[in-house]
């Protein structure tokens, strides 16, 4: 029984893989490249959104404001103490990124396996498959729940959206990140559904691949946001 490493790549355009393999379809390598390029392009406005928020944050922090009563310029920035829960949430997100990568490599391996199965005299063992995708989805939901809880903790400490400029930014940055992560959770759900809807392994591999890179980006973005809020004061 042959086994194939999960790092096998599929480059041969002659090989068709499941449903995406009609004669009138671009080959797998092209579709993957195009999807990844699309993701890279799509991440650019997301980056610009957070660059814009970051610059507003930096400007607002340093901005003296005119107190009309005294005609003096005063600084009114009060830093927010971030809930410790955010560190746990960070750990959850990083862990989910790890599992996401395992899911991505897993389906890459299956694509390679299908490729091998096209070659005569080779068969693949049906290994037990851990549902890394489902684990990632679960951890994503745990993160979002954790963020929600952290906001409740902030509110309990008296920091609402409009309490101080610093609290506005905490909710803004973490909230916008959460919205984008929800998009990633939705993509994971779609990837899971694609399996149930019997889409080809090639199509599912592309969906998982693109979602994985998006997911890793979201984890990196979260670390950036946390550092900005904690250290840039």
């Amino acid at each position: 029984m042959a086994s194939f490493s999960t790092t096998a790549t599929v480059e041969d355009p002659r090989i068709s893989l499941g449903e995406g393999a009609r004669a009138d379809s671009p080959d797998y390598a092209t579709r993957l490249r195009r999807a990844r390029l699309g993701l890279l392009v799509a991440l650019t406005p997301v980056i610009m959104l957070f660059v814009s928020f970051s610059s507003a944050y930096v400007v607002r922090q340093g901005l003296p404001t005119l107190d009309p009563r005294t005609n003096q310029l005063v600084r009114d920035w009060i830093p927010v103490t971030l809930p410790k829960l955010l560190l746990i949430n960070t750990g959850v997100l990083i862990l989910s990124s790890l599992f996401m990568e395992l899911a991505r490599l897993q389906i890459k391996g299956r694509v390679a396996g299908v490729l091998a199965a096209e070659v005569p005299e080779v068969s693949i063992s049906d290994q037990v498959r851990i549902p890394w995708l489902a684990v990632t989805l679960l951890l994503g939901l745990v993160f979002l729940f954790g963020q929600w809880t952290a906001w409740r903790q902030l509110a309990a400490n008296g920091f609402y959206v409009a309490t101080t400029p610093s609290s506005s930014f905490v909710y803004l940055l973490t909230g916008t990140h959460a919205v984008h992560l929800m998009g990633g959770v939705l993509a994971l759900f779609v990837a899971g559904m694609a399996s149930l809807l019997r889409r080809s392994v090639a199509t599912r591999s592309i969906v998982v691949d693109v979602t994985a890179w998006y997911w890793h980006f979201m984890a990196g973005l979260w670390i950036y946001i946390l550092c900005l809020l904690e250290f840039a004061s």
Binding site: L66, P68, T70, N71
Partner: protein, 269 residues
Amino acid sequence: MGLILLVVIWLITFISTYFFIAKTWWLPVGASASTAGIDHHFTTTFILMGIVFVAAQVALGYLVWNYRDRGSSSSKVAYSHGNTTLEVVWTLLTTILFVGLNLATYNLWAAERFDPAGANAVRVEVTGMQFAWYFRYPGPDGKFGATNPELEDASAGGEAALGLDPKDPASKDDVVTGTMVVPVNREIEVILRAHDVIHSFFIPQMRFKQDAVPGLAIHMHFTAIQTGDYEILCAELCGLGHYKMHGMLKVVSQDEYDKWLAAREAEKQ
């Protein structure tokens, strides 16, 4: 058709240029110390850009007429993908013209905006609000008194509109008016404030414009060199009354100003 295009383009060009040169509608006569420099540079820009404008439009009209397809009697097309030397030359020339024109304004801009007002300037605080301008003079103590937004009452006019705080001793002698009176040939320091939204303090004949921004106190200066009455306009959209938010600048002799101010200050005692 080529000829019609030439005629239409040239006519539009010459008619527009005529009205620019004839100054049928032109910058209002300036009455500030900055007028000479600004107007001179305006004319320089105007002449240079005017030459470019006329040359380009005349060339366009000429080219579409001269190179029209005349059927078999047309000359062969000059097949060409361009000329690198020409590209470099006109890029350099354009850069020198445009950037040079702007760099030439450095001293003017510096005098207007980099340098603060002199110590001898007459200070006037100008406050914009929906939809009026108020002017405040510091009075004999030379200090502007405190204002408190909670005390503002625009319908009461004057001191109440500014929210002048009567508890601050410095505000007792502040003179608040609805008309801006300044002496001629003296530098005027304007401190611009706004209560609600962004307004803009525009006196066309003083070649003066500056936004009044809530949350900021912006210091500017100008010097009037001619007595007279000059209209003040709001030049930043501030709401439904934007079109009627205007005031008056009265430039008078130093003597008249002193008398006027003394009378206003006397009322405060």
